[in-house]
Symmetry: D3
Subunit: 282 residues, 6 copies
């Protein structure tokens, strides 16, 4: 498991460093001589699933290749309050300048992985998959979708370009589900599946007849979802969607749908408390 295209990742990290450093860290460059070295300790301040450890290290490498980050932990590992996650060694300047940016990534991604894991745990040991949505933080989708995988979730399509999702408005514009599916089949690469959003079982039946590959059940009740599962009979993948919470996901999974998409894991995860303390200077 890796975050994806490493050049894109680097551009995201460099952009974040630029945002924080601007023309320069005026406090640190005035006080800390460039030769001073330091050591620092990264620790968890609460229980969490770790995500972004390589990102954290990479932020420092981009800033100063001489800074070492040593850790026995990997993304996906469970952290407890107090866990000593990693040790940093190198230029004190570099450590102080990169600290906030590196932590911002680590805390944000670990927050997403931790919340995803909570959803995933609620529906174990079923085969149902928790999947993400396009409701991600602008500019961070690549990393957030990675954090979802770290937390045990799966990804929906990345964007508008790598999967077909025919929504209500597409259906209205086309005239019917059947015509929307036909138009798509005539134009898109054979390498993507066709998913259709429906609000009732009538829509589901039409989507199946039109030979869709997957159907998104939009804001259906548990009864409707169960009914949809019966109707589909395995002919299409079924995705439950709409206001899924930690309380409701268990019951939804029992309806027999294949996938449950949860916007909250990316748009409303809170940051995990992780701290970096300088332990040695000189």
């Amino acid at each position: 498991m890796n975050p994806g295209n490493s050049k894109l990742v680097d551009r995201i990290l460099e952009n974040a460093l630029d945002e924080d450093i601007g023309p320069g860290d005026i406090t640190t460059s005035a006080i800390v001589d460039s030769e001073i070295r330091g050591e620092a300790q990264l620790s968890a301040k609460e229980d969490a699933v770790l995500a972004g450890m390589e990102i954290f290290s990479r932020v420092f490498s981009l800033l100063d290749p001489g800074i070492e980050v040593n850790s026995k932990f990997h993304d996906g590992d469970v952290l407890r309050d107090g866990t000593y996650i990693a040790q940093l060694k190198g230029s004190l300047r570099g450590i102080l300048i990169g600290e906030r940016t590196a932590l911002n990534f680590l805390q944000h991604l670990s927050g997403i992985a931790t919340l995803t894991r909570a959803y995933v745990d609620k529906i174990k040991p079923s085969q149902v998959r928790v999947i993400d949505t396009r409701k991600t933080t602008p500019g961070l989708r690549l990393l957030e979708k990675y954090a979802v995988r770290v937390g045990g979730g799966s990804n929906h399509r990345f964007g508008l370009f790598d999967g077909i999702l025919i929504k209500d408005n597409h259906i209205v514009a086309a005239g019917s589900i059947t015509r929307a599916v036909e138009r798509v089949k005539a134009h898109v690469p054979h390498t993507v599946r066709i998913e259709v959003e429906v609000t009732d079982t009538k829509g589901l039946e039409e989507a199946i007849s039109a030979r869709a590959d997957a159907v998104l059940l939009d804001n259906m009740s548990l009864e409707e979802m169960s009914s949809a599962v019966s109707i589909a009979g395995g002919r299409v993948l079924l995705e439950a969607s709409g206001s899924v919470t930690l309380e409701s996901i268990g019951e939804i999974a029992k309806t027999g749908v294949d996938l449950i998409s949860v916007g909250a894991i990316t748009h409303s995860a809170r940051s995990v408390d992780i701290s970096l303390e300088v332990t040695d200077i000189g």
Copy 2:
């Protein structure tokens, strides 16, 4: 009040559009003819403080200058569940392609403004200011700090370049608070204030003697903060910092500090539920 450098804002929005659209929206371009026009309605699905209305419109302008977004609401307005926020008119293609990106900004920024307002309301009618931190989402600091202002908060420094904050590690590297402040005074522009982080009243006294302009009281108890206020006697600005919650902020404000910084308003605000429904196609 505006979000700041509009070219930087545009770059953030274009980057987000690119992330979502990639080579193209394969669903919409296959189904929706480029001449079809549509209307859509933006509505709140819960109570919130609106933030990002101009950003929302700008996303569509960048995509297709022909799309109009008409609204009587402005950033800072209170929304109720069901509030009809704005109407969109224009190319249906453009509306469908830009929808998710525009909403991701609006929901995220409104989430920050709403949470900030909650903190600010807890300490009214005191003069104490709620301020943000550098614990922002990488790449979105400009917009997130704007949303904090929309919510009634104030901003701390933007980054490492536009304010001095001498932290514990700087003090250790310099040898003492006094020497750290001296070094900074010798090097930095006269246009920035000097703030020193201290953990006890002894540090506070040294910072005042060294002629710091502001002092950050790090994780102090209410008693320590009250004591710090007495010692300072208005000679320096005092910033309370560390694990501030909606429950604790009221008592902290009563100690008489000038500023209370809250990381959660940017790093842990959840997204506000706002929806866009196409109301007319043709």
Copy 3:
């Protein structure tokens, strides 16, 4: 039909203009005053399928929004030697500076559309689709895949990110087709289909058992392909691939495969001869 993400298209065109213009057109700026206006005529010098008409106009708009390009022709139209394609009006300087870049796009894309149309015509009226590959000119894939669609072809996946193609080396690394498909199913979004490359019918059978969605028949003889069609019995899409020529495509189509991929339409199409003549200056 449109070329896709218009911001990406603009970046490709601006890059090309930059490449040609560099610090400036030293001949034209020395000779032609900026107020002089001109008219020019775009004509075909051989039979071809037109592709890139909007791109051609957009090059001039990016250079000088005052230049008008008026044409009754659209991408996909058949041109004859001598066809008067379009008239240009505007600043003579702008016309002369943009001419070569605009023509380079138009001639290149029309070349691809023309060659694609030749392949497509060879297999009419069958339902078999001619599809492209990733053997495109670096930097121009978005436009070249568009030109393939203009010529009547269909697109394979855009890149490594929006479709699964399990090739021989992936199979060796995984141990077997079955294990490769399993790994992919466990990791990738449900929105993409899974295609497996095989070299014989044994591979085809394993791919079908593993529940692949499509199978690429690599360099098979006509007999092998016919046999593959029988074995598949409609359970998977079949793509014929490998050294397809204008001579061989007809027979391949008759085997009953669903798709025939042709690298030559993007990597070896020759440029169409189209000229731009200034007809009036003053």
Copy 4:
């Protein structure tokens, strides 16, 4: 001989990698563990002139500096069908991810060098030079002009900024060849030569009188070109231009012109068949 500004070259290669990889190679990252190493063999599948060997290696270096490309061949070497060009060793993931992009460059550039060599061979052992034009693939001019040199050709000016070419429309705008040359002489750096395009010997005579350095003979017959050579008598360089083919170039060279420009070598060269086969995994 080298391709030129290496930062520009890197930007072209990184852009091409981005285009193909996008957010990530979903097939390879799902199947191939990051520790697996591989070896691969690059071989020619037809006779050709090699061009782009360093470019090929650089694509892999940019992706993963641990991948080694070892070859005894250099740009300009003649390849035979079956020639074992190079061996690759390193991360299998990196090899599979970079393969297509690296090959697209190598096959395209070798195609240009091969076609250029064919033209050059037709006019040996004369001193006449085969030169390229600005009819190059948008975005790849730097590399394509390099491939022309590899094939034994010479370069015309790079773009509009580094050479003067006064064309028919410039002449009309100026009023006469003489006035066009005068204006240019008054404005452009003394470091560039002045070339004038003419369609008949009258134009040639005026260009010589106006003290042009070179004259482009546009679409002249063999007789007219011979006559032009006599008239010029070595006072200006003569460039033959217009619909030059492998069949016609020999006779053109015999007229005694100095340079023959051929658009086809860059705009219509077909890709050379070169393959990369993984030979060892583990």
Copy 5:
């Protein structure tokens, strides 16, 4: 006369605006409401040659297309202390935010044009040309070379890519002037001239024999230059170079050289005093 590739110019201006504005103008956005309009007057505070008037306007257009800059003056016009150069009207915010950046360009470029004019005036009415060098301010060469032309000077080559200048070190590396010229003739486009740097008349003679087009006389005395002019007899262009001052240029011109290059006009021109005063607010 224009500054060259307008997209390149825009990138330089946007970069400069970014540098000054960063996340935003915190003074102006706090004090000046976005609806307030203003008028301002641009005036010269000393005698000078105006250069950069369009650049000045363009800075404001890029910031806010609603700001008008009206002027009767054009680049090349002579300004006197007190000359009312232009009037600005539009958003007061925009005027205040763009003021410094726009003035920095105008004052810098006018400084170059003014100094260039001073050198040019010293050698009137001779035909000798004052030319610039590559000793320009990094990042501003396009604009500085334009300012030189505005001041009546001519440009040497733009950079390393658009002209040949064989310097002492090239000659040592090649073995002799003759061999250096031969190598260049074999490799470079026929569209550029070949200039050779020499330090004595022996070098000049070899350069002429080798058929160089121009010769740079490096730090020669007036006598040596006169002698060089006799030797050359019009067969090559002669460029005088090295520590040329306003005091020495007159005598140098009298030696009969064709070109005199002056580094100081770009690397040591002082800024012209031009001020912008707001005249009306409301």
Copy 6:
């Protein structure tokens, strides 16, 4: 002391290299084989303060990491005419290609440091600081402000974003100094100081009452400045500004102001003469 954000610095240097090299150095690549090595010597040709030594080295590192620059000198050191500053070793090609760009930075920055030092020396041994302005060369502010520090000066705010300077037009827009200061206090981060520009002592008194932190005395006479110092009595920092020259700065310092800003040190410093001579080739 360092130039600041090293990624920003690299972007400035890469941009300058691109500007000079463009598609490639056609002279050097034709003449100098890539294996040839060389040594060169950097020497001062006049007395100066060195600034930009690391920048000089970095230009070569970016071009070719194999080039070594060895020097015993550091920024701030005084150079005499003839001082042997540094030795270069490495690829001769790289040395010749990077030479001009590297020197352009070094000569420009040393010019600024040298002029700054001259101003600073004039007011020794007073405590008054010489500070710069925003009148810098577009695109080079980061480096020029660094050179000012090297020369012994201090920096004013970097741009519009990191300091408050309320100018005459802001005051008019706000209605009064008092209201302008109030608005700013309500909106800006507590980390920046508030400076107000005044033209007379009445303005100074109002600024002090409004609790400004610093006051810029605009174009005041020596008497007015002395009077301002008395009035301020240490309650605000005082900055003298306006047409400060080497002749006038001594008297200004004696008035007792805290800071004297000098635009000339960045906008009108002339380049220092420093040369690079190749000493060995082979």
